[in-house]
């Protein structure tokens, strides 16, 4: 119990510190004096460019990094518990691939930014709905296994559709846009993106928080969970829907950012154990902090943007191996 509290305090402190730091750094220099002005409420005193940078550019970007990081971590935590497998990522049922196909399709058809996000969101939901529908028709198989296999198969199918679109795309114009979207980035986040994505992500988070006790039972074999009084099919479908909603909302605004949903729940679990009620909030805190740190690096270390997926893998993997080496008990 004590170590759990400590973990939470540390994670929250790190998050707040990182958020403050993220506001102070960026390619466009904003002097500390102006930042302090902002904090103490004298924002009118700031020069207009500084205000633009802080309110329109850094502000939404920092907030969306927190949102996307938390959403991906939450979805990953739910899935890892549900599939009883600590190596599962939120994309196991194909939400990222479906979203990618939606976005690539929108780019291919030269629709605008909002349409691309909309298609990405819809594509993610549709892919999981398809996987879930097919997977649950497979009677006589262990339900989780059926879902996973269906997810893999459909994911591959959607991936080949993406490959086809990339192939047919105009190499001068559409293909670079597609490539950039697939690499993932928070660079183009505008306040209106956040205004849409945040409520959607919260809508997905709410059921997960409410059902946090019952979700623990999904990590038991199906028979046991049912014998303990849980309607596993219904609970699974709610968890899948909630996690998918969160992930689709995140991917729609940020593109594909890998590793967060896989790594962060792991790291959090090594600290506080698998109990979902304790694990979920910590996972989200760490996920938000991690992605914020990564994204801050992405937009400051060079004049050009570094794709966040590259950094999440580079930083996350050794960090995870270190954590794993330190821990002694099971997952």
């Amino acid at each position: 119990m004590r170590s759990t509290l400590l973990a939470y305090v540390l994670a929250l402190a790190a998050l707040l510190a990182l958020t403050a730091l993220a506001f102070t750094v960026g390619r466009y220099p904003v002097p500390i004096g102006q930042l302090i002005d902002l904090l103490i409420g004298k924002s009118q005193a700031l020069p207009p460019t500084a205000r633009t940078v802080l309110f329109e550019i850094r502000g939404p970007r920092v907030l969306s990094a927190l949102l996307v990081g938390a959403a991906l971590a939450a979805a990953g935590t739910a899935y890892q518990g549900m599939f009883r497998n600590p190596l599962v990522s939120p994309d196991i049922l194909g939400v990222s691939t479906g979203a990618a196909l939606g976005a690539v399709g929108a780019i291919f058809l030269s629709l605008g930014v909002f349409a691309t996000q909309l298609f990405a969101f819809g594509g993610g939901l549709a892919a999981v709905a398809l996987v879930y529908w097919i997977g649950s028709r497979m009677r006589g198989h262990e339900p989780m296994l059926a879902l996973v296999l269906t997810g893999v198969v459909i994911g591959t199918l959607l991936g080949s559709a993406i490959a086809l679109l990339k192939y047919l795309a105009d190499p001068y114009n559409q293909l670079p846009a597609i490539t950039f979207w697939l690499l993932g980035s928070l660079a183009a986040i505008a306040p209106q993106d956040l205004a849409v994505a945040a409520p959607l992500a919260l809508a997905g988070l709410a059921p997960m928080l409410l059902l946090r006790w019952r979700v623990n039972l999904l990590s038991l074999p199906d028979d046991e969970a049912r014998a303990l009084g849980v309607d596993t099919r219904r609970l699974r479908s709610v968890v899948v829907a909630a996690a998918t909603l969160m992930t689709a909302a995140a991917v729609a605004v940020s593109g594909i950012i890998g590793w967060v949903g896989l790594l962060i729940p792991h790291a959090a679990r090594l600290v506080v154990g698998p109990h979902f009620g304790r694990l979920l909030p910590l996972s989200m805190l760490i996920g938000a902090a991690f992605l914020l740190a990564v994204d801050t690096l992405c937009r400051t270390i060079a004049p050009i943007e570094v794709p966040p997926g590259v950094l999440t893998a580079l930083i996350g993997t050794p960090f995870f191996l270190w954590l794993f080496a330190l821990s002694r008990r099971g997952w």
């Binding site: 518990g81 009883r84 497998n85 600590p86 006589g140 409410l210 059902l211 946090r212 006790w213 019952r214 623990n216 039972l217 990590s219 038991l220 074999p221 028979d223 046991e224 049912r226 014998a227 303990l228 009084g229 849980v230 309607d231 679990r269 154990g273 698998p274 109990h275 009620g277 008990r329 099971g330 997952w331």
Partner: protein, 257 residues
């Protein structure tokens, strides 16, 4: 507590067994014996409501299973599966607390009262010293006891235990059988399956011999466990030895010289 009447069980399109009928009263222990593939697990799953019966009825406290919701069933019937390692390192206390789920609302978490019930269940099995340990790090026997505690936390009237002594060492086997006896004395009906006929002698008042999906015999262990029935089920020759003061055991028939 449990009334089974002309039960046919199996999967859609495949009948695994039929013609099963028996009753189990509070405080009674029944042992289900049978060879591998005889349908024990499928029968148990049907009795737990995890599989719909293909024919006949199963009643718990007078109510037919089909009419009960999952939650209602879980409040009456506790399931103790074979001890498994599990993927995630929940503590024993957390595992036992999961047994309270049927008594919680959909969005609720365990309250103080639930924690008390769980603690009592843990204490009644003598595993308080394990309560804070991760489930994945304790021994097989300890895990089995933890799973029994979890089932007890459900406050059941009937316990269904699927081979509770499988893969336990000799000492742990006896300890588990001992606990079964205690639970019965507290008024809980217990149904357990085993491969070892001696277990029936040790703690059961009733025995059901299940082979090829049919009940060969149902009755007191001393009556139904006989060399003929054992030969029919297992294909081996044994004799029943009376060790005095009411205890019996099976021993293989010595080979002819």
């Amino acid at each position: 507590m449990l009334e089974v009447d002309s039960l046919a069980f199996g999967f859609a399109g495949r009948v695994v067994g039929q013609g099963i009928g028996f009753t189990l009263a509070a405080g009674e222990v029944m042992c289900v014996l049978g060879p591998n593939g005889g349908g024990k697990t499928t029968l148990f799953r049907t009795l737990l409501g995890l599989l719909p019966p293909l024919g006949g009825t199963v009643r718990v406290q007078g109510a037919p299973l089909e009419a009960l919701t999952r939650t209602e069933i879980a409040r009456r019937v506790g399931y103790v599966p074979q001890a498994h390692v599990g993927t995630f390192a929940f503590t024993v206390r957390e595992m036992v607390l999961m047994g309270r789920t049927a008594h919680l609302g959909a969005f609720a978490s365990p309250a103080a009262r639930d924690r008390e019930v769980a603690e009592r269940a843990i204490a009644s099995l003598g595993i308080e010293h394990l309560a804070h340990r991760p489930f994945t790090e304790i021994s097989g026997g300890e895990r089995q006891l933890a799973l029994v505690a979890r089932a007890l936390a459900q406050d059941p009237v009937l316990l269904v235990m699927d081979e509770p002594t499988a893969s336990l060492d000799f000492g742990n086997q006896l300890r588990v059988l001992d606990r079964i006896g205690e639970l019965a004395r507290r008024g809980i009906a217990v149904l357990f399956s085993t491969h070892d006929p001696d277990h029936a002698f040790l703690c059961a008042q009733r025995a059901l011999l299940l082979a090829e999906g049919r009940a060969l015999e149902v009755g007191a262990p001393r009556e139904v466990i006989r060399p003929e029935t054992l030969r029919r089920m297992y294909g081996v020759a044994v004799r029943i030895v009376d060790a005095g003061n009411g205890q019996h055991a099976c021993l293989p028939e010595p080979a002819p010289r």
